[in-house]
């Protein structure tokens, strides 16, 4: 098992290095850009006093390297600085919102992954069959369509016309669990539809590619039932590419969630980041960016590690 452990350790190491590099990039993104940062943030109408305040708050006078180190140290201690707009600690603002986002994305993942696997498997069993063609068409439509289209369409149908579900995902402290679920149902459905299409297409493609392998033909020529061939011969070999597909699409989830939060005015980190960008609230933007990027990197890391563990050639040295 030494080979496997070494591979995994190498991959985790790569992940950590990536995170450090990304944090540096995100931080220096502001510095590498041309022009005076303070002036860019406040616009041409800024008064000299405002400019001086900004420069002090962001310690723009210090050399870039030092600022990065300070920031990094702060981050490792859980201190992301203060929001320029509200003055509150970034962490206190971000944390609860990020939790909401993770909840939303998590629910969507919980629903979409089994659905994608099941439908993908069923479609690949009979390529070109009725189910397969139906699924393919639906996928094409859902992928081509922007998330907000699906969102508003769902609102129009279920909220306004039918009145079954609320159009705004308002979460307040005193809500019961069922009420919360009701509030997030439409956003979750929207997210699921968006990600399901991508995942489904890729799962089906991965399965079909495995089904084209010579050993599948051999299995069929041995007189095995098609179901047996797909489940016993194709699936174990499809595990690695399918896991890669899932991880990749959980990444789509991370991005899709931003738009969905805006559509439904859901109090999550995506909405927060968009607002922060609009207000040029740098520390908040950096923190949100880092949070999203880290999640994405960790998901990809998990996918790679699982793919390594599942590879039959690395079993039994």
């Amino acid at each position: 098992m030494a080979g496997v452990t070494r591979l995994i350790a190498a991959r985790v190491g790569m992940g950590l290095v990536t995170l450090v590099v990304i944090s540096a990039l995100l931080f220096f993104a502001t510095d590498l850009l041309p022009g005076d940062v303070a002036a860019a943030l406040l616009g041409p109408q800024a008064t000299p006093e405002a400019l001086a305040t900004i420069r002090a708050t962001l310690s723009l006078g210090d050399p870039a390297g030092m600022r990065y180190v300070h920031w990094l140290v702060g981050v490792l201690h859980g201190d992301f600085g203060r929001s320029l707009a509200t003055g509150r600690s970034v962490v206190t603002v971000l944390l609860p919102r990020f939790a909401n986002t993770l909840a939303l994305a998590g629910l969507a993942a919980l629903v979409s992954v089994p659905l994608a696997l099941g439908l993908g498997l069923a479609a690949a069993m009979r390529p070109g069959g009725r189910l397969d063609r139906l699924v393919s068409t639906l996928c094409l439509v859902t992928i081509s369509v922007p998330e907000f289209f699906i969102g508003y369409l769902l609102i129009l149908i279920f909220s306004v016309q039918l009145g079954w579900l609320p159009s705004l995902a308002v979460l307040s402290g005193g809500m019961s669990f069922v009420q919360r679920l009701g509030a997030v149902t439409l956003p979750v459905i929207t997210l699921v539809l968006v990600v399901l299409a991508h995942m489904l297409r890729m799962t089906r493609a991965a399965l079909l590619s495995v089904m084209a392998a010579p050993y599948i033909e051999t299995a069929l020529l041995k007189g095995l039932r098609r179901r047996t061939v797909v489940l016993r011969h194709a699936l174990p070999n499809a595990a690695a590419p399918i896991i890669a597909v899932i991880a990749l699409n959980l990444g789509y989830l991370v991005v899709g969630v931003v738009v969905v939060e805006v559509v439904f005015v859901y109090p999550g980190a995506g909405q927060l980041m968009v607002d922060a960008v609009g207000k040029r609230d740098l520390p908040l933007v950096q923190a949100c960016g880092l949070a999203f990027a880290t999640t994405y990197v960790i998901l990809n890391l998990i996918a790679d590690v699982v793919a390594i563990l599942v590879n039959p050639r690395l079993r039994a040295a």
């Binding site: 990536t18 590099v21 990304i22 990039l25 995100l26 993104a29 502001t30 850009l33 940062v37 860019a40 943030l41 094409l140 439509v141 992928i143 081509s144 369509v145 922007p146 998330e147 907000f148 289209f149 508003y152 369409l153 609102i155 129009l156 909220s159 306004v160 016309q161 159009s167 079909l208 089904m211 084209a212 392998a213 010579p214 599948i216 033909e217 069929l220 098609r226 990444g251 991370v254 991005v255 931003v258 738009v259 805006v262 559509v263 980041m273 968009v274 922060a276 960008v277 609009g278 040029r280 609230d281 740098l282 933007v285 950096q286 960016g289 999203f292 990027a293 994405y296 990197v297 990809n300």
Partner: protein, 282 residues
């Protein structure tokens, strides 16, 4: 190229080609229509881009085929100009992404060695951050003027194009005719342009179409978030945001621009699928 066909001794013969139906379903007419609208908007539009012509969210009637928007401007006109603005931005960003991505990808594949490893690692790290997040970061500092948007989206998407272009080129580089050219003493430029490129046109064309549809959706999403093309310029994404409140009154106003976005994307994707199917046919 033999896929393990089912156990049936006879496979279905290919259906008779009904040319017109295939053409119609290929997405070409849809895309052509929208591109024509984009190109001819200033001359074909019944009203001005920012002209106020009626009340808020008037229903569709003979003077205003799709009614009016949230400020009383003609929806149909806004759609035409929106096509022009959104499609232009997406097209320019795609050209930048493609030019950069393909050049870098081909060079990396052809040169190989540590150059390839270095560039690929760097791009891998850039790829680790979702495009939206990176774009938001950059836009928060640089603002969202048109050149900034084109450059940001183009550069970020070029990383995705790089990956595909490099994969395609690597598949070609290992074929012996490339080795034959190198053994002759041909330079890198010849190998890239005369040996690799002609054999890469098909997959690159398909990727170009797909990339355009992704970028187009992305531009629309950015505008929807309020960070893309700024008002009063018409833009399909912003139009969705501006008219979003109409949903609460049971009006379909935001769905017009949203549907337009969907139609163009579906059309381009169908076109790419159709093209790939035609290429695969021997």
């Amino acid at each position: 190229m033999s896929a393990a066909r089912g156990p049936s001794p006879e496979s279905r013969p290919s259906g008779a080609s009904r040319g017109w139906l295939r053409f119609a379903a290929s997405g070409a007419p849809l895309v052509a229509l929208i591109l024509a609208a984009a190109a001819l908007a200033p001359w074909v539009a019944p009203y001005g881009e920012a002209q106020f012509v009626g009340g808020v969210w008037d229903p569709p009637n003979l003077q205003h085929w799709l009614g009016t928007d949230n400020l009383g401007r003609d929806m149909f006109t806004r759609l035409l100009f929106g096509a022009r603005n959104t499609v232009t931005l997406a097209a320019l960003a795609t050209v930048l992404a493609f030019g950069l991505g393909v050049t870098l990808g081909f060079c990396a594949a052809a040169v190989g060695g540590w150059v390839d490893a270095l560039v690929s690692r760097a791009i891998e790290i850039l790829l680790s951050v979702p495009v939206l997040i990176s774009a938001l970061m950059v836009l928060s500092v640089l603002g969202n003027s048109l050149p900034v948007l084109i450059a940001t989206i183009g550069l970020l998407e070029s990383t995705r194009v790089y990956t595909i272009a490099r994969a395609v080129a690597r598949g070609i580089v290992v074929r012996e005719f490339v080795a034959a050219a190198r053994l002759r003493g041909e330079g890198l430029a010849w190998v890239l342009v005369r040996e690799i490129l002609p054999n890469a046109l098909a997959p690159l064309a398909a990727e170009g179409g797909l990339r355009f549809s992704f970028i187009f959706l992305f531009v629309a999403s950015l505008s929807f978030l309020g960070l893309g093309i700024q008002p009063p310029a018409a833009d399909w994404g912003s139009m969705v945001r501006e008219n979003a409140q109409a949903i609460n009154f049971g009006l379909a106003a935001p769905l017009y621009p949203a549907t337009a976005i969907a139609l163009l994307t579906i059309g381009v994707n169908r076109l790419v699928d159709h093209y790939l199917a035609a290429e695969a046919r021997p």
